[in-house]
Subunit: 558 residues, 2 copies
């Protein structure tokens, strides 16, 4: 049997006019701003009017540690959303927007896969509704204003060597990672070293995704640290008076984008912060808006549950007051076998023993989710080669931990393939068993927060940090930032900081290389390993094959 | 009497739903792509289907040399368009889009003024429909691919010192004018000097505005020169294989944007190339589309007629096969008095003598327009302080040259104030007196083309160019670029290269400082003076006062 590719399925799909999709959530034409006929933003006035409505149930889709075998977290998010609609619940999914730049390096991707996708795929991989361009503009306006401030006399006494606000571009461009700017003489300013990151790494992106409304957005933008003086005191965005203009540039980008699944169910696709140096979830405003409009909101977090779900709970839910009702952990037989030591080339062979061994990874994520007070169900995303014995072993493993592992075939069958999962999610959510609480309290010291995550989520023995890092954390506490949550930046492939240690390692230590304060976003980034904030293009960039065919359709993008 | 500001008038205006504006041009809802309820792009399929329709009349609005007194070229374009509709003609205006970056330096501007404006003003000064962001992305993708090509082995043998493709950002950022990129070691590439221009200065912008369709767009993008080898042979965009992906990024930006005037008449606002290093007109595709949909299309060109109209005729009309029917030269009593030697502070005093003297500037533009075979009418854009004697003197001057100078009050009265002008334009257009021909033939040598413009349009005696420049022009002729038209880049304030020489100077010489080949846009840029392609922000940028008020309305942008 020949399968269709994701892009074939997506491009062949009939789309409902976006106004009809909006109508499913009770959004009238005048309450949305159309972008073409298949995309729309939801008006601010409409969102402001939802405050007093009750909120629906919140379902987080997360996963075991990712492997090259693939897990299908977004696919399951879409499949579950469609299945909830299929069994009569008003459900809406909330996922992140794609970054433009990387599509010209590797091929662009679908949102979901098979018969569980969000469309229009092409627009979502290109400019979409312009949100990321607005973020790029706002970020770079601040950068221009900082250098302009220095140029015209530097009233704030910024130390030229300590300007921490870089520039951004939504492009994979390694040549811009490190530059010297303001060359060419008096009229161009004071030369200094700086560089560009990719737009999704911008603190403005993290802020857009955490802000509850435009006032909160402006406040957070003003709180960002752009530089330090010689006496090490911070210079804030508001000292440069840029936050008002930045807010104006971002006002449309703050409005969630509505699109649809292949089954014409509503999907908010909004925001896309990095999952390492930021928190990696779609916007708070999209999630809270969806909760006011739907009985069920299905959302996901970046990477595996150790990073993605932990940050979703400890940063997004803590700050936005969200209370997740169910956590769905996506696992595949293939990925668990890899976690059990099987090489990618051997995945086609049945190997129940390796699967059982790899289940330790799943088991730890189950325990972790429960430690947040969130009930768990495992979604086994079915692949064609999975054997009955393997699936049974996986289900037995979960059952022994008091959790159901439900086989899902939404990739092949759409919503029909995820009905069992949807029913289980509804049963758990309506039983009201969730008692969500973040992992650590706000008033714990910053270092103790890091230790709590490392020991309780990663099962590490110790956190290693030199004196400079510990002092930096203390200094921030003295400056009033001690209440902030931690945003861990480490490899997504392991509970440890070593990407090759799959399964459920323990007894390791977590070395901290660097800490950064995102004072506007409101978290302390703890970097444990190499973090690339500006990717490069490969030897043969995907862009070389992208173009229009004779029918003027896009080719090569997927 | 207290006048309302342009932004007050614009923000108080009732807007027609854009679908109703489109309907006036016979564009159905399914043939447009809405952006909100007050902006839309016209679908490619619809435009492709218009080929066999007859074209309406084309009216160019141009002006005398600008002075600080202001002329009101766009205001007159809008007022005339509205007035043509008022007298029963189906008319559409075509103007340029505004650049985002400069709005954060000086206040953003209206499109038009008083009761002759295009709306929505706020969106048009912000992200609008994202065209400029798309151009920025396409431009910078090519830049990233050039450095990536060098990084992975430099198969094309690009000379690192001769990469001519810079990067762009739609921001006034002097710190980026000159940079050293690719610093930081092996993984970041080969350090070299480069810089950023503002997006409107991109050759991609000029190409988008000259391309007739997506095929032509892709071909022109491929033709762009990005670098030279050590042997001085050019490396083209197509050698880097970027033109396909760039075309994909630009495919929506190629579709004209429809908005409306205060009187709800259709306006295409599309494209915005620099008026110095580029040709300074709105897009060919918007103009040709409008001509298929309307009886009258009123468009404008940047700067005064010596630069703007000449380039409109010799570049845009020549290349797109457009045949203008009427040229409207906008003049004001105030600006003519300044051309006659009056200081700005003294403009309020009646001064018929200075006005008569200044009319020499108008007279020369009248003669120039006629030399293109285009009949002329002068629009006297009325200002409150103008005296009857001054207006009479101006009208007499024009009459002596066989041209009517018509007093217009569209700024104060909207279309009603420009009915006389509209009737005259119709009379001229319907008499069929136009016999448009470009100033010089394609097969004239490049230097002879420059001399023709300098002598016949600027009334100069000589063109001064050193051997290096003359050799460069010859080299391009040998390479097959001799057929290209010339794009002059000189001060807009004078027929000469000295901005202070107002009126109608003669006997001067035109010194050429630099020539540049825009092989994709299809013209040779001749630079006579300082051309700034990346503005800076002033000491107190407008951005500092921009923000949202308590009602979350934008303040400080205008």
């Amino acid at each position: 049997m020949a399968y269709k590719s994701d892009s074939e399925i997506a491009s062949e799909a009939a789309k409902l006019p976006i106004r009809d999709v909006a109508a499913k959530l009770g959004i009238a034409v005048e309450d949305m701003l159309p972008y073409g006929h298949d995309k729309a933003k939801i008006s601010r006035q409409f969102i402001d009017g939802l405050t007093d409505r009750p909120s629906g149930k919140l379902v987080l889709v997360t996963a075991i540690n990712p492997t090259p075998a693939g897990e299908g977290k977004t696919t399951t998010t879409v499949g579950l959303g469609d299945a909830l609609n299929r069994i009569g619940k008003r459900a809406c999914i909330c996922i992140r927007e794609a970054s433009l730049g990387p599509n010209f390096g590797m091929k662009g991707g679908a949102a979901g896969g098979g018969y569980a996708q969000v469309i229009p795929m092409e627009d979502m991989n290109l400019h979409f509704t312009g949100d990321f361009h607005a973020i790029t503009s706002a970020h770079n306006l601040l950068a221009a204003m900082v250098d302009n401030h220095i140029y015209w006399g530097n009233e704030q006494q910024i130390d030229l060597r300590r300007v921490v606000w870089r520039r951004v571009v939504d492009m994979n461009d390694r040549a811009l990672r490190q530059i010297t700017c303001s060359l060419g003489g008096v009229t161009n300013g004071f030369p200094r070293e700086t560089g560009f990151d990719i737009t999704v790494a911008s603190e403005v992106m993290a802020i857009l995704c955490l802000a509850t409304d435009l006032d909160d957005l402006g406040r957070r933008l003003g709180d960002m640290i752009v530089a330090y003086r010689r006496d090490r005191t911070p210079v804030y965005c508001r000292d440069i008076k840029a936050e008002g203009a930045m807010t104006v540039l971002l006002k449309d980008a703050m409005q969630p984008n509505l699109v649809q699944t292949l089954e014409h169910n509503p999907a908010f696709v909004h925001g896309g912060p990095f999952a390492n140096i930021a928190h990696g979830c779609n916007s708070v405003i999209a999630t809270t808006t969806a909760l006011k409009l739907a009985d069920y909101v299905v959302t996901e977090a970046g990477f595996g549950a150790d990073l993605g779900a932990e940050k979703f709970f400890d940063i997004k839910c803590r700050k936005a007051g969200l209370k997740p009702d169910v956590a769905v952990i996506v696992a595949t037989v293939r990925a668990l076998k890899m976690n059990g030591g099987v090489a990618k080339a051997d995945l086609a062979d049945e190997n129940v023993e390796a699967l059982r061994k790899g289940c330790a990874n799943l088991g730890r994520h189950i325990a972790n989710m429960k430690s947040f007070g969130v009930p768990v169900v495992v979604a086994v995303n079915h692949f064609a080669g999975d054997t009955e014995a393997e699936i049974q072993a996986l289900q037995d493993y979960a059952k022994a931990r008091g959790v159901e592992a439900i086989l899902c075939r939404h990739w092949a069958d759409g919503s029909e393939g995820a009905v069992d999962l949807a029913q289980k999610v509804v049963q758990i959510a309506e039983s009201g068993g969730a008692e969500f609480a973040p992992l650590y309290p706000d008033d714990l010291s910053l270092f103790a927060k890091i230790e709590t995550i490392a020991k309780r989520i990663y099962y590490a023995d110790a956190v290693l940090a030199d004196t400079a890092i510990r002092n930096q954390l203390k200094e921030w506490e003295d400056q009033g930032y001690g209440h902030l949550p931690i945003c861990m930046a480490k490899t997504q492939y392991s509970f440890t900081t070593d990407p090759d240690r799959r399964g459920a390692p323990e007894g390791h230590s977590v070395p901290i290389r660097e800490v950064r304060l995102a004072a506007g976003a409101g978290f302390v980034v703890v970097i444990c390993g190499e973090i690339m904030t500006m990717p490069g293009l490969p030897r043969q960039p995907a862009a070389e094959a992208i173009g229009l065919n004779v029918a003027r359709e896009v080719v090569g993008l997927f």
